[in-house]
Symmetry: C2
Subunit: 253 residues, 2 copies
């Protein structure tokens, strides 16, 4: 054990509907607290875990990445099996592996992809209601896709900074922003190096307004210039958002 | 009003997770009871509704069809809007229309399509756990698809009749039975004129055993000949099953 790294990475998927978000907090159930509780039940030790993305209440994940230091003799690749038997079924560890001692789920991340889903039928969806926003009026997905391209590249996203944000800089680099329609569902995919708090949901809400004709397609370009939140649309509901993937220098999973 | 039919058809979608099934029963919450409650709130009258398929607890629907007689002056096509504001969000009425007085959601149905989903990844799915069964061992979908063809046509499905079934005949006509893999998900689609109670779930469970190599591919053919339930596999869990569509002589929706 002494020569090997004790750091373990987990790939975690969750339905965020019934959680106050990723981050542990008093008097509320979080995904982080559930994983730490399962680790304590498994190892008998108190272990803090760190997630790549501090997803909000109601936000989901397919590829959240988490790290912790293993105080036990349990092999890294066994944690996915051992934790799943101790986790509620709305949280699944889909892989686990040993990583170098200096790996950090958040600080080592090179980028992330998020997906935002909108059900665009008149009456909405019963079965997938927790995983999509609902907009009954027709969205012009082609118009949204064209407008979305304005955010690609390195920009000052000050207009997207939620009130109370403590980010040192509001400059962020976005690689992709694509909108497409699949039947009744309008999908937004956004990839970038890092994101401001609520940035994807503000982008999704603004694109929905653009898709409805309530905001002009160039409002995103304008907001990047002015830095004015008022040039943008609403913050779209949390339930439509899913953290799809976190990227690292090495292909982890 | 006097010359027009008072009969109204609803197209209903639901997440069956939190219901005891379609059918109204004492001391348990059903989809039927919820719709009748919403109709009572809307019209002030007690109205019984009839569904095409009496789906079990935990079974979902995208295209359940329902009929009732409208005692009010509310136009048939307004019921979807008016009911949705009074229904819980795991039940949505996606369309409503006037139908002839002799239309009956169950007896007029010419056929139905069901879909059964299995998550076939080692650790399962957190987000879609209520809509799929989980089988961690690899399923051979091509083998399942080939075996499924045995049920196509008119056969005596006595082997598929759940214990306590009260069907007059166990002869049923199946039009399609297709299995395909989409990434981690194995999908079974079954269409037919009518179905015995639990028949699709017994078919799904048997095909899963065939896909695992626990039952020979010709066990379906054999069971149709012997009528012996023991030639088949388990009844697959309710949560994987969704009623997709009900067909009528006229194209209703």
């Amino acid at each position: 054990m002494s020569e090997e790294s004790r750091r373990v990475a987990l790939r975690v998927s969750y339905d965020g509907t019934n959680y106050s978000g990723w981050q542990r907090q008093e008097n509320a159930d979080s995904v982080q607290a559930q994983i730490e509780k399962a680790l304590r039940a498994l190892t008998g030790r108190t272990i803090g875990v760190t997630g790549a993305s501090r997803t909000d209440a109601g936000v989901h994940a397919l590829g959240q990445t988490v790290h912790f230091d293993n105080p036990s003799r349990i092999p890294a690749e066994r944690f996915c099996y051992a934790l799943n038997t101790r986790l509620p079924d709305d949280i699944r560890v889909t892989a686990s592996r040993s990583v170098p001692e200096d790996f950090h789920a958040r600080f080592s991340a090179r980028g992330k992809t998020y997906r935002y889903l909108v059900n665009n039928s008149v009456h909405g969806t019963a079965m997938l209601r927790n995983f999509m926003a609902h907009e009954p009026r027709p969205l012009d997905a082609a118009r949204m896709d064209a407008a979305a391209k304005a955010v690609i590249g390195e920009h000052d996203f000050a207009a997207f900074a939620a009130a109370g944000s403590v980010a040192k800089t509001t400059v962020r680099e976005i690689w992709r922003a694509d909108v497409k329609r699949e039947g009744d569902v309008v999908e937004l995919w956004v990839g970038g190096k890092s994101f401001l708090y609520n940035m994807v949901r503000i982008l999704a809400g603004t694109l929905m307004y653009i898709g409805l004709g309530k905001l002009p397609p160039d409002c995103l370009k304008k907001a990047l210039e002015t830095g004015d939140r008022l040039d943008l649309g609403i913050t779209a509901p949390a339930r439509g958002l899913t953290l799809m993937e976190v990227y690292y220098d090495d292909h982890l999973w």
